[in-house]
């Protein structure tokens, strides 16, 4: 039986109490939030943060980013990854941009390992917002993984002049390691979005 896909619709302006309630202070439990690590989670602690910028360069206050990643050993917590479970790390986080004064998303997570195929370590991101009718996918690679990035097949499929939009800058400060990754929806620095 051949069926047709249900069409996508925008997440709208009021997703926060449904999808990211704890982050925004609503009385509803979140299945996932911006804090992805527990004390016993293995790996290098990182903060992954950025803004989502519209075509006028304004930081968007009602976007939501979903983050899906491998653990520090490069394993995904999913049955299609045959290498075994990697508790206590689900690899999934959600952050809205509406609870930060600069409209940033801010994830606390661990740096993922290489997944064991030919891919460089990376974060998989899904972008939602009011005014976006179908979600878009992108990836964040790590600036300190230049050698692995140079061999990554997904980056190789991106025009060279746009690859930089997929690389998060690393900063080490008193609060630890921060990777910054602004997402440009449009413009000269428009982030590469993938048709997955």
């Amino acid at each position: 039986m051949a069926l047709k896909q249900t069409p996508s619709q925008t997440v709208g302006p009021y997703f926060a109490y449904g999808l990211t309630p704890e982050q925004y202070g609503y009385p509803h439990r979140s299945i996932a939030g911006p804090g992805m690590v527990r004390p016993e989670t293995a790996g290098e602690r990182i903060r992954f943060e950025g803004r989502v910028l519209d075509g006028a360069g304004e930081a968007i206050p009602d976007a939501m980013i979903e983050l899906w990643q491998a653990d520090a050993a490069g394993r995904y917590a999913h049955p299609a990854d045959p290498r075994g479970a990697n508790a206590p790390f689900s690899g999934f986080g959600r952050a809205g941009t509406g609870s930060d004064p600069e409209n940033r998303f801010v994830f606390e997570t661990v740096k993922p390992g290489a997944t064991g195929d030919d891919q460089a370590p990376h974060l998989n991101l899904i972008v939602f917002m009011r005014g976006l009718l179908s979600h878009v996918y992108t990836r964040a690679y790590f600036a300190d993984e230049a050698e692995a990035n140079a061999a990554d097949p997904v980056l190789a499929g991106v025009p060279q002049e746009r690859r930089g939009t997929l690389v998060a800058a690393r900063e080490e400060g008193p609060e630890g390691v921060v990777y910054r990754f602004d997402i440009h929806m449009q413009g000269a620095r428009e982030t590469v979005f993938f048709d997955v």
């Binding site: 299945i31 999913h78 997944t115 005014g131 929806m185």
Partner: protein, 235 residues
């Protein structure tokens, strides 16, 4: 690769475009460059897993999960259906999250300034997990229409927001369910952004069979996620 099959592509004849000028906020927010094709690998063939253990006891029942000192006002509804893939196979054990306005057309979200009353006994958010046959079921209150600023005298049709994961990152879907016979549909640029042939898939069917006698009107809304590609993916 790893015994997994890729998922069929997103069917852009079914989904709205990324920029649809009649919906004004798409103009500065929708990507302007073409999407870059990406061959699915382990990163896309996996995805977040949330099953029954992620649910609270009243998560599926919006008529009760926000109640403080009574019942919410409005017309009680049952929203039920199946989550399927493009080959008609059930998508079991997948998380479905919903959120909606109350019967007066007001969201509990603090940014909603519509001058309509909040209902102290209605929150408007819920979730459930599909069963082995892909079935899901919510109890709720029929949401009201509400005005928005897109164009003069613009009103959103009654709708419920749906979020689904499916088995992988590739099957992710966020959509909206509408109600049959709503005169606002043909005036709504968010609905009209969907290609004409696909719009009907967003409208639930009234169902007497799903109606619970003396309690709530039934609506059926099946959701179709991306299916597996016919051929195994190359290494």
């Amino acid at each position: 690769m790893l015994g997994s099959e890729a998922y069929k592509p997103r069917d852009w004849a079914s989904h709205p475009p990324l920029v649809y000028p009649a919906y004004k906020s798409t103009v500065l927010r929708g990507p302007s460059k073409p999407l870059v094709p990406l061959k699915q690998r382990l990163s896309e063939l996996t995805g977040p897993v949330y099953g029954q253990e992620s649910l609270g006891p009243l998560d599926h029942d919006l008529t009760r999960n926000g109640a403080k000192d009574g019942e919410p006002l409005g017309e009680r509804i049952v929203v039920t259906g199946r989550v399927l893939d493009e080959d008609g196979r059930a998508v079991p054990d997948t998380l479905i999250e919903i959120w909606q306005a109350n019967a007066a057309g007001r969201y509990i979200h603090e940014a909603d300034r519509h001058d309509a009353p909040l209902d102290p006994n209605f929150f408007g958010g819920g979730r459930c997990v599909s069963d082995r046959e892909g079935r899901y079921r919510f109890h709720s209150i029929r949401p009201g229409a509400y005005p928005w600023g897109n164009h003069p005298n613009a009103w959103r049709p009654n709708h419920i927001h749906f979020s689904l994961f499916g088995p992988s990152l590739a099957t992710r879907l966020v959509t909206q369910m509408y109600f049959p016979g709503d005169p606002l549909l043909d005036l709504d640029p968010i609905y009209l952004a969907v290609p004409a042939g696909a719009r009907q898939r967003l409208i639930a069917d009234f169902s007497r069979d799903a109606t619970e006698p003396g309690f709530a009107l039934g609506y059926l809304f099946d959701i179709v996620l991306r299916g597996r590609a016919a051929t195994p993916m190359e290494g």
